[in-house]
Each structure stands twice: as structure tokens, then as C-alpha cells.
Symmetry: C2
Amino acid sequence: MLQAPPAEPGMREDEIDTPALVIDLDAFEHNLDTMAALLAPTEAKLRAHAKTHKSPVVAKLQMARGAVGQCVQKVAEAEALAWGGVPDVLVTNQVVGPRKLARLAALSRICEVGLCADDEAQVVLAEQAAEAAGIRLKMLVEIDVGMARGGIEAGPPAVALAERIAASKHLIFGGLQAYHGSAQHIREPEKRAGAIAEAVARTRRTMEQLAQRGLSCAIVGGAGTGTFRHEAASGVYTEIQAGSYAFMDVDYAKNDDAPPFRHALFVATTVMSRAAPGIVVVDCGHKGVAVDSGMPGVWERPGLRFAGASDEHGKIMVEDAAAPALGERLRLVPGHCDPTVDRYDWYVGVRKGRVECLWPIAARGGMA
Amino acid sequence: MLQAPPAEPGMREDEIDTPALVIDLDAFEHNLDTMAALLAPTEAKLRAHAKTHKSPVVAKLQMARGAVGQCVQKVAEAEALAWGGVPDVLVTNQVVGPRKLARLAALSRICEVGLCADDEAQVVLAEQAAEAAGIRLKMLVEIDVGMARGGIEAGPPAVALAERIAASKHLIFGGLQAYHGSAQHIREPEKRAGAIAEAVARTRRTMEQLAQRGLSCAIVGGAGTGTFRHEAASGVYTEIQAGSYAFMDVDYAKNDDAPPFRHALFVATTVMSRAAPGIVVVDCGHKGVAVDSGMPGVWERPGLRFAGASDEHGKIMVEDAAAPALGERLRLVPGHCDPTVDRYDWYVGVRKGRVECLWPIAARGGMA
């Protein structure tokens, strides 16, 4: 069941039912504009990752500022975007399973779609789905550029897979997917730059070998909020797949050289108990804010520390501040935006203390 | 947007689109029957906690076996249950906020409802909502029995709050909420029993002091899957609020004296990449299975270990087994059922390898 929206346009921020996912619209628009400005002098375009925002509304605001399309991780996310009018969606992931592939192939009638492979078995499955649907599917080869999660070995194994795709009359070879997600969380700037330099080297070498076989890459995609300035400057990557930049989370902001994005996403929460000494309990636990990358911050309330989350309760230690009152509102800064967004049905857009808009998180829960 | 169901009745289990939330119906029914049998010789009744299952369908199956009603943590959960025909719902939590209280008061026209307080300010808010709605709200006093999260101090402070509730013409004093959640995760059986003995002592003392003031407790509620046999045997608790017993998760099963429930809830997942040596990657990360209590288990596949979850990918180490094939299905046992359920729109009920039913998770995402 879709949950009812927690607010109405025109309300004051402190009237929103909590916990609720709040976008600070001024900060959010600053982030979209900043990314567009940072990429403008480079050869790379933005293909923003919708795994973060899961919303055709946000996608269109990004595309209005120059993004060439959207990335997703799941077919269900591709559906939500295409049904919401987004014209170009790349699944930056393998898709394994005949029902999923049939859904993706069906989508290609209303939207430019693509997907990735790191194994010939995936190519065979995609080929069957495309043939059955009477369309051609665009398929990129995902190479491992240092994360050791998915991705075929760069160089000859990747080239062989690309040739297999290019030889299929039901598929189109779309280029390389070369994402180094874990590099984004390396705190030392030099080590992080070194990891991306290695990713660029593996990607360039593979492109050169592909060219020797007569194959060019329409897309060379990768990068995230923690590293995209390196990939964008590489001359190799054509598409930047950052997502979190739109909202920012605590983890990316920890890097010393964090990019100039503002915190734009918050979970609004209410103090519901102050019975226990030294703590206040808020109505948001880990069902309401993801804690896989650490606890959320408490926004602009020095002396308050979010110390622990159970399912529906958050414990805030009152360390060097007056305890907030029962019923008082706090803003939490998610430790990790993407899974936090995925728990909610609605964004509540706020500007100058008033609710300005409600946007459905259309791909929320899009697992398959 | 509600996500489409990942399966249809009659399908084979290996045709379900993954990741998907699967109930093993034989194990699930065993668990419901077992709990009914364990409580039958005691004076305590089950008021199962719907924060785990979030489904009126599951609630009714529990009530058909003797449960007197359901617990919830949020007003949105109470709504989903009441709208689904559950006749008696207790919010085992404080409710702070005029919109939430108005919704709960409205619900009392179709369902027996109650809520908890640990502060007089909550009593005042509930009183106002009840008066505005022209109904009486049942309110329990939550006492701290050792968890130091919510709950007023047992004894005289709790008695004073109960008297305040009982004196209101818009409220009904409903009894005591005395939940010791953290005791459930104490591994040593004696220490766990000791924690509950202390909870029982604080509760009994408060009841005696209430009786001296002429107040009796229609409900004395608490207990969870990890401790309920102690509370049920105490002679003090009238209602047991266990929820996880229906499904069981990895964490509760770690206790040496784990109660005789079976793993009944799984996340079905598919191997989507085996490009990296020594691991296979499945299509379920922490968006699909909660990791706040640790990684999921891999069901009946010795030698495979779920070692890490990113947003949409799970890394399974192949330690002492043949690597599963691309496309092969695995069942994951959630480390923590409650937040895992809250990520999905549908239960897929499976028996003997076939999909038997689909049940909507009606209160999924019910935050406020």
C-alpha cells in the first residue's frame, strides 16, 4: 500500500508528520547547478544515477541541466523512470532472469534502454529476450576496474565479450561500464586519485584493444560523487554516473576534499520521549534512516549526538546542550542517502520553512 | 508506487522474480501453532507484534490461534490493520503530534485502540485529540524495566501518571507497558532470565502501588521472542508482544536456548555475476535484506557465506563448496526480519516448491 503523504503544500515544516523525508530545495537546486557547472568544461556528460533518488521528477530536473539520461540498478527502477517520461535509461548492472529481461525489452518500445554484461551467459539470455520482443537491446561490457564485485577482467576477456555482443543481430554493443564504487570511500585524496588512475588505465587499455578489433564505445560510463572529478578529467569516461551529489550524505562529506555540494536531504523527526536521563528518543529508528554507513547526523544542533537506532526509535545523547522538548522537531542528515530514500513513498520539498511540493518516490522498493 | 508482485500463484519457486520475500508456509504455520501451544498453559495471552509482519492477513492467522489482538509501533501500522479488519490494536509506543493523534482517534470508531505514555505532556495531547474526536482513548503507562529507552520510572512516578490518565474524562487507563527489548539479545540464558526477573519485579511493584490507589491494569504487556517464556510464566504479564517468532531471524536463533521456532522467512535471490574469483554476486544487497543485526545466512548451502552487502549487490564467498551457477537461486535468512519485511510490498507464500499465495505487506513503509 502506498502511504499517504506526510504533508501538504503550504504547511509549515514543523507541521509535517514525522518521520518524513525532506528535501531542502535551495540546497538541492544548488547541487544540481553545481554539478552541471563542474562538468561543463569537461568532455564528460552526466548520466545521473537514479538508484539514489528513484524519482522521474528529480531525473527531469537533472536532464534540464544537461544530463543525457539516467542510470538505474534494477529493471523496476527503469520502469518507474520510463513510465514517468524519462527518455534514456541505462541499467548499470547485470540482469539475470527471463521475466526481468522481458520487462526490460518491453520498455525499449518507449525509452532508450541498455544493460550490462560480465559473462557470456548473460548475453545469451538478453539475446533471447530481445529476439522474443522483436527489438535490439543495447549491452555494455562491465569491466572490473578495482572493486572486485562484478565486472569481467579488463583487456582481452572484455574484448571477447564485446565481440560476442557485437556479433549478435539482437544486441547492440554499447560500450564499457567501468565503475569503481569502493574508491569513493578512501579517505586520503592521493590514494583515492590513485585508485581512479588505475581504473582509467584499465579502461583505456580495453578501449584501445576494442578499437583494434573495430569496436568503438558510444558510452564509457562510471564514477560516483566521491571521485567523479577524476573520471571527468580523464578524457576516457564519456558519462559520469554520480547520484548522491544531489542530496549528499554524511559519508561523502567526511572526505577532506569533499566536492562542493550541500546537505539537501533530511529526515524530519520528532522528540517522542525524554523519560530516560541524558537522552531524548525520537520517532525515527533504522526503519526510517539507513545506518549501514553509520549513524545520521543531527543538523545544526551541536551537543546532540544520534547514538543508536532500534527499529522505530532513535536515541539522541544530550552531551553539551539543553535537551530538546517533547514534540520538538529535529532534522537528521542520513549517513547514506540511497537506502534511506528507498524506505519512503514521498519527498517533501521545503523552502524557507514551508512545504512547497510533494514528489512520489516512484521506484521506491523497486527490487527486481 | 506499489511494486508489482514478483510471482503468481502456481509458479515454481525458482520462477519468482528476485529479490523477493518468501514465506515457507509449513514453517510459518508451525511457528504460529507452537506459540499458541507454549502460551496455552500460562495466564498470558498473545498480542502479537505487527511491527514484524505489517500484514492484516498474518494478524488474522495469529488471532485465529488465540491472539487477543495486535501491537504496532506507529499509527500508520494501526491504520493498515484496522482497515484490514483487525479488531483490537495497541500502539506500544508514545504518539506525539496532533495529526497522528487525530488519525488514531478517528480509528477508534472501527477498532479497539490504545497507546502509551511516559510523560504528562503526551497525556495532554491525547486528551485533546480524544475530546476533539468525541471518543475516549485507552492509554497505558510505559515503564522503564531496564532498557533505558522510553518508559517512565517504575513505582511512584508511573502511578502518578496513571492517576492523571484515569482522572481524564477523555481517556481510559489501560494498564502497563513493560517491554525489555534489549534483554532478548543477551546470549547467556541466566543473565537474560535475570534481566526479565528484574523487569517483572519493577512491574509487580508498580501494580501493587496502583492497586493501593484503586487502579487495576486490564493489560500488562511486554516481552518478545527472545524472552517471552519468562514473562508468560511470571504471573504478572497478561499479554505477550512477541512478533519475530512467526518468522525467526538469525539473531534470535543464536541464543543457545532459542525457542523452538523455525526459519520461515527468506529472501530469494539470484546469482547475477561470478566474474570475480572466489565470490559470486547475488541481486540482493542491503536495500533487499536488513544488515543492522549482521549479514544474512545462506540457507542450506554449507560453504557459502554472505560476506558483504552494498546497495543492490550481495557478495557471497565461496569457501568450501562448488560455486553456484549464474542464474542459480539461493535463499537468504535475514539477520533481522522486521526491517527486511518493511522493504517489500509482497509476501510470496511457498509450499513444496510452489507459490501458494501472495499477501500484500499493507503497512510497509508506515512510518508516521
